[in-house]
């Protein structure tokens, strides 16, 4: 932890190292007398690592089980609404914590942090209205991923704006290297909605009238964001509306794409020697985020992943859950294999080359994804309607007004708007 501490973002990440170092070594059952720990979360390498470590606290009256699935958002709220809740902790991210907050199923952690949180860094704590509601263990963001060999062939530097990306894509196509050089998780629904939010933030757009739940995306910035997305899709595999992150990774590993805005947490898989020929994985490089339309705000969003503790469980189970999850996100999980899985917010983390994308994104003044109670409704409305514009069924203004209307109807039903 010497040279890499230079970067400002890393200072933020590891800023509170001095606070740590109080607690003793690991003991059987992690020092929990008894209790039940049940984890629900998404399924990708970093989360699997956290859950695996939390499982080591099982034994002597402590039970730990985990359910990691891509469908976690569909089951975490129902699984925490019962009393006692089935899941004692949900691993969530910037957006999905709002669903748990809205339904009031997670508890403030301040007293647990005071009692058992001596190993947590202060910047790991996610506070909402002054109360600690979650503990983050990794940072994530989408940023540029590129094929060095392809860019060298056409003699172009890694793009820093979406306009440069389009120019590079045109050149790659013109030279006959690839027909569809751009990749991207543009699957209709959640992924596509996020790409719009990214692009709209890059245009300096505001999603809502400040301080209200009134949506305001039907403007020039919204149209510009949609037009840029459409321009990009001209260089994507025509099936782009069915490509989620997994399919986008597969296209990359097959050597079909050369440039994309993609998740930092998934670049480790792209650079390892599994599933791709050497010319692909050796030449897969990451860079900072892209800007658009001459703006200075990167066209991407910052994300954290972290854990929460359910409200409807006994204090004993809550304490056991807190201790087990703290163990799961402690320095004990860091080794050569796990280090590249994510940008860990854990003491002792040394960023690998593939993690530089996320770190640069943090440095570049990127906005975090909004944590607002009604953001989930807008995200759904975006995901349901943008495809109509990209497939050419309607113009940008109609799509934006459809999105606003769909959101407004849903927000009225939910009681966010009158």
């Amino acid at each position: 932890m010497t040279i890499s501490m230079r970067s400002l973002a890393l200072m933020t990440l590891l800023g509170a190292t001095a606070l740590t170092g109080g607690a003793g070594g690991a003991m059987a059952g992690c020092g929990i007398p008894a209790g039940r720990v049940s984890i629900i979360g998404n399924e990708f390498p970093a989360i699997q690592t956290v859950a695996r470590e939390a499982m080591t606290c099982a034994g002597d009256g402590v039970t730990v089980k985990s359910n990691l699935t891509a469908d976690h958002q569909k089951i975490n709220v129902p699984g925490m609404q019962g009393n006692p809740a089935e899941y004692t902790t949900a691993i969530i991210s910037t957006s999905s914590i709002m669903a748990l907050m809205n339904e009031d199923v997670i508890r403030p952690l301040d007293d647990l942090v005071a009692a058992h949180g001596q190993d947590l860094a202060k910047n790991q704590l996610v506070t909402i209205d002054g109360k600690v509601m979650g503990v983050a263990f990794m940072a994530n963001a989408q940023h540029l991923v590129y094929r060095q060999d392809v860019l060298e062939k056409i003699g172009v530097e890694p793009p820093r704006t979406y306009e440069e990306m389009l120019a590079a894509a045109e050149k790659i196509r013109a030279e006959g290297i690839m027909q569809y050089p751009l990749g991207g998780a543009y699957m209709a629904g959640w992924n596509l909605a996020l790409e719009f939010v990214n692009m709209y933030f890059g245009m300096d757009g505001e999603l809502f009238e400040p301080g209200t739940a009134e949506v305001s995306i039907n403007n020039e910035k919204g149209i510009a964001a949609l037009e840029m997305m459409k321009a990009l899709t001209a260089y994507m595999n025509p099936d782009f509306l069915t490509h989620d992150s997994n399919a986008t990774s597969a296209e990359w590993e097959a050597g079909n794409t050369a440039l994309m805005n993609f998740w930092g947490s998934r670049t480790g898989v792209l650079t390892d020697d599994e599933g791709a020929p050497p010319e692909v994985y050796e030449n897969t490089k990451v860079a900072g985020p892209l800007t658009v339309a001459g703006g200075s705000t990167p066209a991407t969003t910052l994300w954290w992943d972290g854990w929460t503790v359910a409200k409807n469980i006994s204090d004993e189970d809550a304490a056991a859950t807190f201790v087990a999850m703290a163990k799961g996100s402690s320095p004990a999980i860091l080794n050569d294999d796990t280090m590249i899985e994510a940008v860990w917010m854990i003491d002792g983390y040394m960023p690998a080359e593939v993690n530089q994308g996320v770190i640069k994104t943090m440095e570049a003044g990127t906005k975090p994804y909004p944590t607002l109670p009604y953001m989930g409704l807008l995200h759904t409305a975006l995901g349901d309607n943008i495809a109509d514009f990209l497939t050419g069924k309607e113009d940008a203004a109609t799509t934006l007004s459809d999105i606003e209307a769909a959101y407004t109807a849903a927000a009225r039903e939910k009681g966010f708007l009158q």
């Binding site: 996610v126 759904t380 309607e394 039903e413």
Partner: protein, 342 residues
């Protein structure tokens, strides 16, 4: 049957029907006319590793008080049915006044989510139901005509689409029609267009969903018809042969009339099933091109913020849709029973 005996005979199934059919429908209808309380929002400061931002949050204590005062939520009557994400009544009124002609009006109408989904759902139901029944009938005739020795294996093979889990069957086809998949490449070759992609074109996507629907449901018709074919009176068939009826004439005038009640039964079941088309849209990732009412329910319940009332309203509309579609068949059945009793 004596009334008392009849009552005891009927009671268990009546109880089951009440518990598992009437009560859930009652519950769904209730949920669709109540919406969550108006949310009490207050401004807060949220902090994470990325710094602090001003944001808003639901005031849980105030919401709790509202909830205790009115545990059912806010009564909204038919407001959710009428809103833009369902029947869109006021939007249709505005469209009618604004549109330049019937074609323009129809185009704009189909842009409203409910009517767009209804268009696909109805197309799917009206094509898949008869085509699957016909295909099943043809397979049954073919299997019935082969020597007994081959029938076992042929029946097994014909049933495979039904045995394969729908999601898996759809996924396999989904990968095959990928622009880089075997069927996708064949389609590109036949059309002579290397950029053609089934997944990127709405008409092709609809076609694929309908083909998949026929493929996966034809075995059901086949099984029923094959069983039915075993009951066709041999004497009638033989006398028809003696009269010099060709194979087609025997099928047209003996087999088909004999199997008509089965066809009515299958049409009932299949219209109900097809109107609730759902799995293929999910497994083909087809939501960009085709949506159905069931897909809306899924999407309402699966988003980060659940829309229970909206999902309930769509459920009730689905039930009504099924009732409307089934009414001709039901009326027909009712009449034929009336005739039988007379």
């Amino acid at each position: 049957m004596k009334h008392r005996t009849f009552l005891w005979f009927f009671l268990p199934s009546a109880t089951a029907m009440f518990l598992f059919i009437a009560l859930p429908i009652f519950s769904v209808v209730t949920q669709s006319v109540f919406a969550p309380h108006e949310q009490v929002i207050r401004e807060v400061e949220n902090c994470s590793v990325f710094g602090c931002t001003k944001a808003t949050q639901i005031d849980q204590e105030a919401t709790q008080a509202l909830r205790e005062a009115e545990p059912m939520g806010r009564y909204v009557g038919a407001a959710i049915y009428a809103d833009r994400n369902h029947l869109a009544l006021s939007e249709i009124g505005a469209l009618w006044n604004r549109s330049s002609g019937p074609v323009d009006f129809l185009g704009q109408l189909l842009n409203l989510p409910f009517y767009g989904a209804l268009a696909f759902t109805l197309t799917y139901t009206l094509l898949v139901t008869p085509l699957a029944i016909m295909l099943g009938f043809l397979i049954a005739l073919a299997v019935n005509a082969v020597p007994r020795f081959f029938r076992g294996p042929m029946i097994f093979v014909s049933l495979l689409p039904m045995i394969v889990t729908p999601l898996v069957g759809a996924l396999i086809l989904f990968w095959m029609v990928d622009a880089r998949g075997i069927l996708g490449a064949v389609i590109q070759m036949m059309a002579g267009d290397p950029n053609l992609s089934v997944k990127a074109s709405t008409p092709l996507m609809w076609t694929m969903l309908i083909v998949y629907g026929i493929w996966s449901t034809a075995p059901f018709a086949f099984v029923i018809y094959y069983a039915g074919l075993q009951t066709v009176p041999q004497d009638t068939l033989e006398s028809a042969m003696i009269d010099g009826a060709s194979r087609w004439e025997r099928i047209r005038f003996v087999v088909i009339p004999h199997l008509l009640p089965l066809t009515t039964f299958m049409a009932l079941i299949k219209i109900m099933d097809n109107f609730r088309v759902f799995e293929p849209i999910v497994s083909f990732s087809a939501s960009a091109h085709a949506q159905s009412l069931s897909y809306f329910i899924y999407s309402d319940l699966g988003g980060e913020t659940r829309l229970l009332s909206s999902a309930a309203a769509t459920s009730v509309l689905t039930i009504l849709g099924v009732v409307v579609l089934l009414s001709p068949v039901l009326v027909r059945t009712w009449r034929s029973f009336g005739k039988g009793a007379a």
